[in-house]
Amino acid sequence: MIRLGRFDYTLVLIILAIFIIGIGALYSATYQNSTQLFDGATGRQIVWMGLGFAAFFLIANVPYHRLLSGAWLFYFICLIFLGLVLVMGHTRGGATRWIQIGSFSLQPSEFTKIGLILLLSSYLSNNRVELRRIRPIMGVFLLMLIPFALILIEPDLGTAVVLIPIAFAMLYAAGANARYLLYIFIAGVATSPIFWSLLKDYQKQRLMVFINPNIDPLGAGYTIIQSKIAIGSGGLLGKGWLSGTQNQLNFLPERHTDFIFSVIGEEWGFLGGAILLFLYLLLIWRILRIATGTQDLYGQLLCVGVATMISFQIIVNIAMTIGLMPVVGMPLPLISYGGSSLLNTMIGMGILMSVSARR
């Protein structure tokens, strides 16, 4: 067991605060409509959080160096599950992302993020890897691209895209030649038109709509327009909990998952949104303080990976609700409804706690 004195209470408190805000928003988002989908969503989310904390404490107690040896194994298990999803996955809303295990449905793509962070930490902290040269860097991108492609064809653009900044940030933190990273980035942007043709029609449409939501105000552009109206009409102080008209009158689609920030923005206003952003920023600072507090490259890379994963999701998610980014399926960490995302985030936090406790 970790000694209580080495336990990072601040981190736990921040997590709890964000989670409680999320539960409030989720309750409000599902308050009016007691359809089957929503029935007991808040309760289930709390149960998932219980499981999340259990995983958190369990992993925090495992010396993180032991995770090193299992990194490759975990990575391959993730790949196998991603393959299984494509073969026998459970389809919701046109996307095949889930595997049904008993009464739970798991989303392997969520855990792949942690899998990649573990593997890259393990790979990059290996002394023999020469990061001044291009080949190992290309190797890292190859490791990233395999799950990336598998997730992309599910399709789950949002989750796939998260893998890219994780790879970049970890390579950068591990000391890779920054110029190579820049070249690769430019090459990636230059070849992105190829990916365009791989996208599904609805994804293309979402990207088109991002440029001008009014081309299809009742179709693909509807979500973004209604979300902007919700957040904008919240004003400085918001309309009050359970009083957001856009939310309560069902104008917001996906408001319990990817668009839950619209509910927060409408009911708590700019003040509520800013406080949430501040809490998230505090969380990121806390995580990276753990990284700077340890001399161990492996521990540092784990922190950088998790911090990048979380902050990228936060930034993209909130930016898309106010129309600053195209709509991609990306949950808001610790807040959006969904067990896999929550569990994955808590596992990441557990790993960080393990690093923190063993500085």
Binding site: A230, T245, Q246, G273, I284, L288, T292, Q300, V304
Partner: protein, 572 residues
């Protein structure tokens, strides 16, 4: 070092997102607030029932009845096809028709979908009986205009129709709305502003599907104001029946204050046709009818008056001292002017005629002489005093002005000088002169009342406010001369061989003047204008029959029926 740089970039990105939030929620907040309100709030107008129109005894002439509409609630409907089939059987409509109405997009999702309008009371009972087998079907009531007396009062009441685009753009500032029913003729048009009332409205909160969630506010409609008329529906019926379907008009008025007791016109129309929903066939029939039933011949059309105009001629000559009551002219059957022969209607002539005889016999030669003595300028001047050539100002819309010719008018409009022969035609009410029946009535009423003029009116009160107060004015004609003409008019009906003897009613003293106006066709217009009792008149009337034959027979006989009717109703 690199970790700190990462942290810095993440922090910067967070601040950018916060900036985006600030822009959306603080700077553009008002814009989005308005959008969110229009998102959720709908206004549902509630029409107000129009005011009623009552006769002088409070009997409703125009009322509102309930229309029973069959409506559909989508949620409640289990088996739509089957239910509609059952419903079609009860209503005796085709199931396809109902299905089409049921699938039609409704104007607002929170409003009930009307699938069959205005079903009869019997059908309502049948539908209610089988309601249990037809879930989702309900009957909704709605006020609908009801013209109790149909075509009998159509020329007074007018009718309502859906507001057209032009009127809407003009009346929008006064609160008129799209699809509102607006008065199109008669009192419905003239008093629309009072009759329409204030619409109510409901402010509804709706969800993303437009379904009603709750009522935020409600303002009940204010029903329109009632009009109480001077009209007596019983006398109106008599007037209508007296016309007996012949084109023309009858107006009965109290000469003392201008109250119109009856105003009938033929051809008439049934205003209910415009009320019945989806009755385009009936409406088209009325609109395309060659006899123009929508034209109110009592006030909206001008005709040559013929001999009834001799009343004005006689008075202008007497009052301008061109003749006296004793002046006599010899009628030999014709009159020669500049080599042209002007005929009297009686070939053998009337012999020596004073003004009383001239009126009684309607002698043309007498009036040719009078006309020539008086001259066009004085006749025009007195014609104006009697109100010819301009509307009487009766409170019904679309009144015609008629045409009162003069030397000046002819110069301006025809670019010609006035010829003396035209004065002779003018003197017997022919030529350019055009008058409306109500103008003739107004002239006769003025004479009957000894020179006191009152503007004719139909609306006595709006709710409790009296609006039809008589405004007395004196015409600038000496009462002495009027009495002479009155005596002549009494002789017309009561004298031996008077031209209006067919209007005579036993027990009543009646004065009048007939007219048989030549038209551009073979047929003549028949006129009779008169009053009773001859010495202290309580009733004045005008009968006009379009291409209706001779004033002395057809029009006078019609007038007789009305005088009798007025007597039976206690007016005389």
């Amino acid at each position: 070092m690199r970790i700190k740089r990462l942290l810095l970039s993440i922090t910067i990105l967070f601040f950018l997102v916060a900036g985006g939030l600030f822009f959306t929620q603080v700077l553009k907040s008002a814009y989005y607030k308005e959008l969110s309100e229009t998102n959720r709030i709908r206004l549902l107008p509630i029409p107000s029932p129009r005011g009623r129109i009552l006769d002088r005894n409070g009997i409703p002439i125009v009322d509102n009845r309930l229309s029973y509409d069959v409506c559909l609630i989508d949620e409640g409907l289990k088996n739509r096809e089957e239910t509609l089939k059952k419903l079609a059987e009860i209503l005796k409509r085709s199931p396809e028709e109902l299905l089409e109405a049921a699938t039609r997009r409704s104007s607002a999702p929170f409003m009930l979908k009307v699938i069959c309008r205005d079903i009869g009371k019997e059908a309502v009972l049948k539908v209610e009986e089988s309601r249990l087998h037809m879930p989702g079907i309900i009957i909704q009531t709605r006020p609908l205009r009801h013209y109790v007396y149909g075509d009998i009062t159509s020329q007074v009441s007018g009718y309502v129709g859906e507001i057209d685009k032009l009127s809407l753009s003009r009346l929008k500032p006064y609160g008129y709305r799209i699809q509102e029913r607006i008065g199109r003729a008669g009192l419905e048009k003239g008093y629309d502003n009072y009759l329409r009332g204030d619409w109510g409205g409901m402010q509804l909160e709706v969800d993303h599907m437009g379904r009603q969630k709750q009522v935020l506010g409600e303002r009940l409609p204010q029903s329109g104001r009632d009009l109480k008329l001077t009209l007596d529906i019983e006398l109106q019926k008599i007037a209508h029946e007296a016309l007996d379907g012949r084109p023309g008009a009858v107006i009965v008025m109290d000469p003392r204050d201008g109250q119109i007791l009856a105003l009938a016109g033929e051809p008439a129309f049934d205003p209910n046709v415009f009320v019945v929903p989806d009755n385009t066939k009936g409406v088209r029939e009325i609109l395309k009818d060659k006899s123009s039933p929508l034209l109110n011949r009592a006030i909206g059309c001008a005709y040559p008056p013929g001999s009834v105009f001799k009343i004005a001629i006689a008075l202008s000559a007497l009052d301008s001292k061109k003749i006296s009551a004793e002046t006599s002219f010899e009628c030999s059957g014709s009159y020669l002017l500049g080599g042209r022969r002007f005929h009297c209607w009686r070939e053998g002539g009337h012999g020596a005629q004073r003004v009383v005889d001239g009126i009684k016999n309607s002698c043309n030669v007498f009036f040719y002489n009078v006309g020539k003595e008086t001259g066009v300028d004085i006749i025009s001047e007195y014609g104006q005093r009697f109100g010819f050539g301009k509307p009487t100002g009766v409170d019904l819309p679309d009144e015609a002005a008629g045409l009162l010719p003069s030397r000046f008018w002819k110069r301006i409009v025809k670019h010609q000088a006035w010829y003396q022969g035209e004065t002779l035609n003018f003197a017997i009410g022919q030529g350019f002169l055009l008058v409306t029946p109500i103008q003739v009535l107004s002239m006769v009423a003025t004479v009957a009342n000894g020179g006191e003029v009152s503007r004719p009116f139909v609306v006595d009160r709006i709710d409790d406010i009296t609006v039809g107060s008589p405004n007395h004015k004196r015409i600038e004609i000496s009462k002495r001369h009027i009495d002479v003409v009155k005596e002549g008019m009494r002789q017309v009906v009561e004298g031996d061989g008077g031209t209006g003897k067919y209007a005579r009613v036993k027990g009543l003293s009646i004065a009048g003047k007939t007219g048989t106006a030549q038209t551009h066709t073979q047929k003549t217009h028949a006129w009779f204008a008169g009053f009773s009792p001859a010495d202290k008149p309580k009733i004045a009337l005008v009968v006009f029959l379009e291409y209706g034959g001779k004033g002395g027979s057809h029009a006078a006989k019609t007038a007789k029926i009305i005088f009798e009717g007025a007597h039976n109703l206690g007016y005389l």
